[in-house]
């Protein structure tokens, strides 16, 4: 029986993890290459959901369950894929800046980046500039993504960028910022290359920065 890419993509979008896992297993059993299952069904399924999220047609609960279905499907493929095949979009360091403990937006962005094929290192919340710099040194990411939810903590973002400059790392990484008080103007003002209006547009912005 030929495997059905559209049905598997739909299972992911609908958050039907049992069905997604079953269909992945069936496809593997049919001899479909793991990379094909990933690239032609799972990833398009989550990408399409990302578009629906951006357009305001689906909301956080739908995103969470779709990402869960994607994760479970990918878990079945892991033994058959190399690390490069799993994370071919690139590597992202993400964290909420020092003094700020808000994490829901950052967590959703992480989830969506991972589902989109990025390798994400999550530094958590209340991350000082030194920790961001050390993470960039250690992991050599393509993108550093920072989140801040408060006017009194967003001011720590320029400090991180300055710290990267002092460490000689600034030109090795693209910086992307987001959060409730953050604007594109602010991103331009502090020298961040990227700005995500919301978690729905973060994947697209990360892809743009990686391609630039």
């Amino acid at each position: 029986m030929a495997w059905n890419r559209t049905e598997l993509a739909n299972a992911v979008q609908n958050g039907d993890d049992d069905e997604a896992v079953k269909m992945v297993k069936d496809a593997l059993a049919e001899g479909v290459p793991a990379l094909e299952i990933l690239d032609e069904a799972l990833v398009p399924g989550i990408q399409q959901l990302g578009e629906l999220f951006k357009d305001g047609e689906v909301f956080l609960p739908e995103v969470l369950i779709a990402c869960r279905a994607m994760d479970k499907g990918v878990a079945e493929l892991k033994p058959y894929l190399t690390a490069g095949e799993m994370h071919k979009k690139g590597k992202v360091i993400i964290g909420t800046v020092e003094g700020d403990l808000h994490d829901i937006g950052k967590n959703i962005v992480r989830l969506m980046l991972e589902c989109a094929g990025f390798d994400v290192v999550d530094l958590g919340v209340d991350v000082p500039a030194t920790a961001f710099v050390n993470a960039v040194k250690e992991h050599c990411p393509d993108i550093l993504a920072m989140s801040a939810l408060l006017t009194i903590t967003m001011t720590n973002m320029p400090e991180v960028i300055e710290s990267l400059e002092k460490a000689g790392l600034r030109d090795r990484v693209r910086v992307m910022i987001g959060g409730a008080p953050i604007t594109r103007e602010y991103a331009d003002q502090i020298g961040a290359e990227g700005f995500a209006e919301d978690c729905a547009s973060a994947v697209q912005e990360a892809e743009r920065l990686k391609a630039a």
Partner: protein, 395 residues
Amino acid sequence: MTESLRQRFLDICRFKRTGDLCLLAPWLNDFWMETPDVWVRQGAPAELADPRTIRSYFEFDHIRVLREIQTGLFMDKRLDVLGRNYVYAIPPILPTYETRMLGEDEHTLSLVNEGGQVVRIDKRDPQKMPMYLDHPVKDRATWQEYKKRLDPSTPERFPADLPAYAARMNAKEEPLLLNVGSFFGFLREWMGLEPFLYALHDDPALIEDMMDTLCHLETVCITEALKHMRVDAAMFWEDMAFKTGPLISPKMFRRFMMPRYKVITDLLRSNGVDIIFVDSDGALNQLIPLWMESGINFFWPLECAAGNDAVALRKQYGKDAILGGNIDKRALLKSKDIIREEVMSKVPYLLETGGYFPSVDHFVPPDVPFENYVYLINTLREVAGLPPLKPFSRR
């Protein structure tokens, strides 16, 4: 004869009184805990550190929140952390959990708070929002235990001498505000946001039971409260949106929240309470029509960073919506010209059309300079034809 504040409030809400600057406090015009202390260090009068003094300093109009009736969430839980207070709010559970220390390191302290949440507090600044590590409700079994604390018949839900309390409240010239709960915010508090959002899909019957439990708690308590005292306005607390929209779909809102809201708003309205307020941060454009359909008609804080526009809302909803807030806190970080421009872009129109209570679009953070906030208040007073605030020493 001067109208009472209560009558001014009612008349503004009912669009019978326009041009009146009514700066309601607490809640609408309020501050982060550390803001007054920061201002005193900037040279503001030392008395501002007292919440009651700060309200009279800025000549706010006091709305009396009926916090002695345990139906809502109030910032009234305190824990001393090395001489400074960790102040927080929890759903109206009775009894509350016993506070228990779990551990500490150089900078942080982990504990179970009165809401049963496991939190990590920064010892250097306990007033900063803590990190939530765990929540008391995880599944049906833990819910069955937790819901015992939401019993409306628990005696401590009301003041011990309810008739005497009611008599005192009824005699006040201020509007009385009854907190009537929450159908999103409380669930988030006791489950954690992500588990709650998953449960909407994975176990909707559990979510329905939680909301029905809250609905029962509130309706029994509202009915009892209304037997004894006048209630001028009611309030829900939700915080169910982020920068670009709601956390859940309109479909989920209609399925889970709207039927329960309607039970409460129908009860309130049938008892003459037609001013029903919701506090939710974030972008509210998609939620406002749903709340209105649910019987709620007053919206705050209308955060500007989330794209809320009180002028556009007034034009869209006319007298069907009472509005509060929408003065951009980010403008207060800039120059006086920008503050003035912000005020003049919306407040004259909103005061003239009525049904508007000005405030910053959330609690005033400590990075707003004192002189900028004073300038804001004086600009608002100017719009309303009032003289500027007198220096404190001359009052």
